[in-house]
């Protein structure tokens, strides 16, 4: 009977109420909800995503409708943001430009996370020769400068990729992913190496879990948090990289609508009509800022030290 009494006294959970079951994800959500930065970034990102999917909600003007007689007209002269050198409505171009940026950002993130994540898990879990080979291959790609590598890659791709807007975005995403996956792989590898020696992985082996189950149930859920954070922050970076490549004329090409293309076109009137440069740059900065802030908020939420 003393055993029964002791058992009861032993069960008082450290954090009070026992029906409040806290998983890592629900803990993170709890902490995210209280973070104003999260809400600010969420609003920004939602607006840009909405813009990308339904640009017609924001404007009824065609971004490719050139009114040459009003070329370089200032904001307020019939249009909100003025017109650029071709007589395009800058407001409409900013709205329609979101699609290319978000598409490239999301596609590149999906590609780098899946390629880098897979290779990182494999090299971290397998170790030894497999790790050495995959890490060195990653180092080779890591050593290529982004712009140089992207220029070579984009120039060497067949014209097939220029045939429509989606393929154009895919082409830029491929170039960025080829050069961007090693940093994801390194991150995932180190995270997996940290998780692998944990007792619960050993215990799972001792209870007969297969290698694939160990990776799926034990290694991946416990090591994926840093990848989520870095992927969110990188998404902003990829949007900026797309703009850079388009600015240089090797990313998306006109007639595609992209902030980078517009920034590049605005350079001719930098002194006289700076609004042509200002608005696409503002949209680009806000989009990048949104994802970086979201990444920061997610990192704070997933980091147990901040609780």
């Amino acid at each position: 009977m003393t055993e029964a009494a002791a058992v009861v006294s032993e069960t008082v959970a450290p954090n009070g109420s026992s029906d409040e079951n806290r998983s890592l994800a629900s803990d993170a959500w709890r902490s995210l909800r209280k973070n104003p930065i999260f809400w600010a970034s969420a609003v920004l990102i939602s607006i840009f995503v909405l813009m990308a999917i339904f640009p017609s909600l924001f404007t009824s003007t065609d971004p490719r409708e050139a009114v040459l007689s009003e070329s370089r007209s200032r904001p307020g002269d019939g249009t909100w943001f003025g017109r650029d050198i071709q007589g395009y409505d800058i407001y409409a171009r900013c709205i329609y430009g979101a699609r290319a940026s978000i598409l490239v950002g999301v596609l590149t993130t999906i590609l780098t996370v899946s390629i880098g994540g897979f290779i990182g898990v494999m090299s971290g879990y397998l170790g030894g020769a497999a790790d050495a080979v995959m890490s060195r291959v990653g180092d080779v790609f890591f050593a290529i400068p982004l712009l140089l590598g992207a220029i070579i890659f984009l120039v060497s791709l067949p014209d097939f990729f220029s045939s429509n807007a989606f393929l154009g975005a895919l082409k830029v995403s491929l170039a960025l992913a080829v050069l961007g996956w090693p940093s994801m792989a390194r991150l995932m590898r180190s995270s997996v190496i940290q998780v692998k020696p944990n007792d619960y992985v050993q215990a799972a082996r001792a209870l007969g879990a297969s290698p694939s189950r160990i990776v799926r149930s034990h290694i991946l859920p416990n090591s994926v948090a840093p990848l989520i954070v870095v992927a969110t922050i990188s998404l902003g970076g990829y949007i900026a990289a797309e703009a850079t490549l388009s600015f240089l004329g090797i990313g998306l090409q006109a007639p595609a609508v992209s902030w980078g293309i517009d920034i590049s076109a605005a350079l001719v009137g930098l002194r006289t009509t700076p609004h042509m440069l200002f608005f696409p740059s503002l949209f680009l900065s806000l989009a990048v800022l949104g994802f970086i802030l979201l990444g920061d908020a997610v990192r704070d939420a997933l980091d147990p030290k901040n609780r």
């Binding site: 058992v7 215990a203 001792a206």
Partner: protein, 343 residues
């Protein structure tokens, strides 16, 4: 009392011969390190029968945990190497078995409990999910049936309000409760052999006794063979039938538990027994074994215990004493075992 007996184990391909579950024969385990080869297990042999509990006793580095990991097949190889020896389960050698076949013995045939139950449970999944996973993966049960079985097991290991606690996460349980959950996972598939590697070391003393009582109860109920690995002589006294004492990777003494406590046949065992604090010695200095266990890379010649042995003579520094039968059923690896046992 509710018993959860799995009917599906009846048709198992592994059937013990004359109650003999596990035979470890002349097992060697080496670790290849940059500094040289450390022989962690040096020719260890023992047997385990159905319903028997064997305690493997030794201090840190004596090779007791490596023995357990070698039996389970969870040693990291490399750096570990098993150059020779046999581990037979129901007559089949686990060491020569294909890895996939061997993996399937883990859980349903041989299972293991670890020292630190907090770190042995996956922090991101509810405990009920983790126990149920055993049934889903190995038995192919659907989610709700598996969860029902998990709740039954949690009740069996005396977790109060199991049905409400099934969705709780490991960090919401106390140390003793976590160890109970670990035990529930280990016995979920009705293993014939259960290895407990220092199951109570991370727990406080009152909880230790409860966990040992639970293990003993489960062992008798399911007629399991139990290997209890510990450095704590006090913990094993009530539970173990036989004790094997290890030192620097060798067995130095094996005996029935009561005989070993009454009359140790090896100076090392005697030293361990003398170092247990006793109430009637209050105020006196505790008799500790002098010195430290040798570095496994530099084991002294002769008897590995000789530098710390107060009885050591010349022959101990040159000749390795073999494990020999001192009295029926008792084995000791000491040149002067007869002298020690009669002291």
């Amino acid at each position: 009392m509710t018993t959860i007996q799995d009917t599906q184990t009846a048709g198992s391909e592994y059937q013990p011969v004359d109650g003999l579950l596990l035979e470890v024969e002349d097992l060697f385990v080496e670790f290849h390190t940059p500094d040289g080869v450390a022989t962690a297990i040096n020719g260890v042999s023992f047997e385990l029968r159905q319903g028997e509990s064997l305690a493997i006793l030794g201090e840190s580095g004596s090779g007791k945990s490596v023995t357990a990991q070698a039996i389970m097949g969870i040693l990291d190889m490399p750096p570990a190497v098993i150059p020779s020896g046999h581990i037979r389960y129901c007559g089949q050698d686990l060491l020569t078995m294909p890895e996939e076949q061997r993996r399937k013995t883990r859980g349903p045939e041989i299972s293991m409990i670890f020292q630190d139950a907090l770190s042995s449970l996956n922090p991101v999944f509810p405990v009920g999910w983790q126990i149920a996973e055993m049934f889903r993966v190995h038995r192919g049960l659907n989610k709700s049936d598996a969860l029902e079985k998990a709740i039954g097991l949690m009740e069996r290991v005396s977790i109060p309000a199991a049905r409400e606690r099934v969705k709780a996460y490991p960090h919401q349980f106390s140390g003793g409760m976590r160890q109970r959950i670990m035990i529930a996972m280990a016995i979920a598939l009705d293993p014939a052999v259960l290895i407990a590697d220092e199951p109570t070391t991370a727990l406080d003393v009152t909880v230790q006794a409860q966990i040992m009582a639970l293990l003993q109860e489960l062992q008798e109920e399911r007629h399991m063979g139990l290997i209890l690995i510990t450095h704590d002589l006090g913990v094993v006294a009530d539970v173990a039938d036989r004790i094997a004492v290890m030192y620097t990777g060798r067995l130095v003494e094996t005996a029935e538990v009561h005989e070993l406590y009454a009359r140790p046949a090896h100076p090392y065992t005697k030293g361990l027994l003398d170092s247990i604090p006793r109430l009637d010695q209050k105020g006196q200095t505790l008799a500790a074994i002098g010195g430290l266990p040798p570095n496994l890379l530099r084991i002294p010649p002769g008897c590995p215990f000789n530098p710390r042995c107060h009885m050591a003579r010349d022959v101990c520094r040159t000749d390795l004493p073999p494990l020999h039968e001192v009295t029926p059923g008792r084995f000791s690896a000491c040149h002067y075992a007869e002298e020690v046992i009669n002291a």
